[in-house]
Subunit: 254 residues, 6 copies
């Protein structure tokens, strides 16, 4: 069940049986010469919607929120098309999303993340939200969870198998393959030079551009294919369904 494609009475009805919602969250940032700017928000969206389809076929509704498509990508701002929130803005926005959903009774809020650069700020946001309760001693009804799609059960193992060399850290063949599988018309063929991009630390935008001239880090994006993307999506979907089910079953101690 997709929240944005529902009416409010349908959400009210859903909440009778489940208080769990999945938010695909990513970033809109350069992914080298072959990857789409939207790669990091598309991947979790693609996986979440595929999982939702399967769940609804089994009559076990999975609630998917609209995609949170702009995250923390200050280091990519040296490449055209990147849009980033400052961490402070990102935190405020996550807080507002969570408090809005909590207002309606959702108390298990699961962020399916597609961007490594988001992780620290999302976790800081969770603490900021919990702190509202922790300073006052009020009971907090919320359980918040962050999961990167590549950390879903089975996915890392699969990606390592599919791309033993050249997976790298940014503009990886696995994430690009996922988008190619979902949007076959977006496949690009580019001669990457060097084939495997350099690696190094991530600091500010100018430093990033100097270290990683075409935007990739350690990756050979050209290994991505539609077929491999389909495999990765299938594994991720299974992992997500299992992980959300387990999360939904968790309860807070009295």
């Amino acid at each position: 069940m997709r929240l944005a494609y529902s009416t409010w009475p349908e959400i009210t009805a859903f909440l009778v049986d489940s208080k769990t919602v999945v938010i695909p969250i990513g970033s809109n940032e350069q992914h080298g010469p072959m990857g789409l700017l939207g790669t990091d928000w598309m991947c979790p969206e693609i996986i979440a919607l595929a999982a939702e389809k399967i769940a609804s076929e089994k009559n076990t509704a999975l609630m998917i929120a609209p995609t949170f498509n702009i995250g923390m990508a200050q280091h990519h701002l040296g490449f055209a098309g990147t849009i980033s929130l400052r961490p402070s803005t990102f935190m405020a926005a996550i807080e507002d999303w969570v408090l809005s959903l909590a207002r309606h009774g959702f108390d298990h809020i699961y962020f399916l993340n597609g961007h490594g650069g988001n992780v620290a700020t999302i976790e800081a946001s969770f603490s900021q939200i919990y702190a509202r309760y922790s300073y006052t001693g009020e009971t907090c009804p919320l359980m918040l969870k962050l999961k990167n799609w590549w950390d879903l059960p089975g996915v890392a193992t699969l990606c390592n198998k599919l791309f033993p060399v050249g997976h790298g850290m940014h503009a990886t063949p696995s994430e690009i393959a996922v988008t190619y599988a979902a949007y076959p018309e977006q496949v690009r063929h580019v001669d990457l030079i060097p084939k495997i991009a350099p690696s190094g630390p991530i600091l500010d935008a100018l430093d990033y551009r100097a270290r990683f001239p075409d935007g990739r880090i350690g990756a050979d994006s050209s290994l991505a294919t539609i077929e491999l993307g389909q495999e990765i999506i299938a594994m991720s979907v299974q992992g997500l369904l299992a992980d959300v089910q387990e999360f939904s079953a968790q309860v807070k101690p009295a």
Copy 2:
């Protein structure tokens, strides 16, 4: 040309000829028993993408940013599924989007808006951005524009003609028709009681729910049809293409 479905070198190439970008912006909030929660971000997205298609067929690329899908909807929080940013958060996020795009050279930034409740905060954001330059006396390269899709040339006249009675202010048949045209599988049939919803002022969430029990204001959403939606989209697309062209041609005085 869709920014998120491009690579960074493609954006760099685009910027040689044009510095204009269109951001569909809306809200995710209840739209009564017949309207989708995503109505207000879907409408500008639908119109912008349809316009982009026509533009690209004419080889006059129109750059469409990812959709800004959560806006200021505090008054709708009494209905399940609504997600809102506080105005202060919304302003910070708009500022970050604009400064990111400005970093790459975009200097004509056009927000195509689908939610009346966003207008004040978006305009306040523009002033917050301009103020960065106005206090220091630095030259500001930016032209920012906000346009509601229903204010595009020809659209209001058409909607008045199509819905002389029962158009109302929220969950209007025109916005719902636009989403039905784009997502025919989402058409809903509901007996609305009363047919035309009550009207009144908009304050906080509990007040809103008490005044407008099913969420609509002054509207008979059941007048929406796929065909009427197609008509409205077509008119909006023409209006958008003309309006953006005019905006792109504007220059700041020396």
Copy 3:
């Protein structure tokens, strides 16, 4: 009754019968070569105090708060004497004024505004205040209203009649006439060149100064006279008394 010219026990006594307060709010910004920098806060103050006088003669006390004299005028900062708050500061200040007055029991808070540039930010502030209640589901006792003095019943019609040509948008003969009527010693005679100032969009301060070299927009300020100002004040006072009475009678639904 003027709040600042009262003692606290007098305010306590007033609150037994009425919970309404009127806040004159404006801006301190250039108004061309003939208009006072204080024009936009003086106009609502002049009108509110004149209305208060009439009300108190009829033993129907009208509570007038101190004047909120600095608003959002970033676009005027290219002209000496302009003082502006950033939108974010303006919002925080409005929130504090409202919460202070609410603390004492005022629940109908009416902002009589004299500056078009304030409108978006004041409305965003109202949403920020309401949001405090909307996210938590607490009952909000407040009704907040913004009214520009030129939108009071009868005023626009009168101004159109008095100034069929050259009214314009900034440093208008109507606002300058109001200040001249209240402060006859401040009348200035200046040869305006051109007689009717240019029009155009409002962006940042340097852009504004380049478009509108003497500060006026579309206006022939030299049409202002003391007598016309008196007429406008009289009409505005009637409009304000009626509008506040109607507002005070409004109640929130249970």
Copy 4:
């Protein structure tokens, strides 16, 4: 010269000869059963305007900004009519006033203060403004000064002589006398019980109300008279003229 009662070309002309501006700043808060809520912003305004009159008669223009009428008075919120900014809001507003005036070339900005509760926050604001330059190593053109009117040369000595007993700390006969002298129609006669109010520390609003039931601290407001107020104003005006002259002559080291 009063900034708000000037046009922008007049301010531009003034700035040729002087870069100094005086801002009357105070608070709107309870002053016991005899004092006006506006006492703390009225006193500096009364003194500043009287000084301006004398200065202009001597052709030595003194620039008086609009009055900053709402300050930090959280501790008075237990009494009706008090309006307070939070310290964080107050700081942001002072910063915006200062940066606006600095934009035009004012570099000696003198706050004539009428409220003890403002002192800490105004000084913190000055540090916040200076810090903009201190972290970056940029040259800061500004000299900011805070002066309480009762600390002007000669004033404390006079007040001690006039009110050897019962001057106290809040709703003092000296500040009330100043407002009575300026607004003779506002004189109130109230039997104060006890004649001299209790003293004690200042914490939050409920604590304040419990300690100081009618709002006064240590003061016998009934000692205030119009004539004494005139004496205090005369002394304060002399003190202000001398102090501002000295301040204007100060220069920053190269």
Copy 5:
């Protein structure tokens, strides 16, 4: 009893008998050619720990919090080693410390301060904290107190006696003597030129450096000795014990 050197059950046990905690607070900033950068946080820490020792010997536990070692020192940023918080950051941090301690039941929170530049911001912070309660009308359990160590009973008199000439305002022989007494290995011998540093106003960092080339204001730091420091510490310890005892006994009115 030192909070950081205790376990949580020990703090819980302490709170049965006392709700008072002392926070040494200072700054890390240049103190001329002879004074340590940490002087301003070391002094209150030294005095508080010495007092704690005496108290514990008498079985009257005194709770000493960890030292708040970075304060507001923007004006010292022109000298290497200075670390400063902006006032807005400082306020947020003080608020968080206080709310954390209040969460556990501490309601008498005593800041023993070692830096004059902290005073305004700490007091503004107290108002910011109290304001949380004052706007809502909730009962505030907290009593907050700020005391500079040189204002403890007996200390100023002693310092005046010990240093009748050359005490000055910054890098004073008294504060340097305190650190020399506590850290005898840190004694430095420097030829100060001039012996007594110049005096003047404190503005931004570059201005400060131009006025006070070696960082001292009005002080002859070379008067500091270990023995004099011991005397000052002894007097301060007595003053602190007395002052905290009195503070702890204060109760808020019902």
Copy 6:
């Protein structure tokens, strides 16, 4: 070389040869019935100071900043003595520390961290700092690094060897051993029940207290001894010296 125990000319001299500074950073929070509240800021301080001693014996100065002793510990607020910053405050404070040190020329800033709960917020802070440069395209001179002391080379291996069972995640025998080694008088003997504490997720303060009644997570703190602490410190010191040396040698690409 300890920054706080130096004078500003000594820091200036140091900066001729090195631009690296190490900041011990931790938290003040409950560590179960045997661990000190200060454990998390003491550990990095102990290790950094021991390393500094060795370095100075070799005439290779290591600059150690004052300890940042309060971090993000909202989840521990259910236990007395915990002091926490909200993430937003923590970020502002880190930003101010970094910008202060950068002002003097430090450009390699190394945070030696002692608290897992700090990691996300410190990393978000780094991004917030870098973002100042990334949005504008200005060159950023800074390299920022976060290292947990238990991630220093060799340390995890040692701890696993020393505590194959019962190491756990909070109030671990390794961190407690480090503090016991440094402060032997603080060794406590407590019968822990159960010996090995439960494990689970970390959410808000009340949830934490319910899951982990005595504050420990997964740890048997009673395994800590002074001797083991000495071993861990020795290994950590070697690791720190090597890691800082490597960091100092890194340069940003041109």
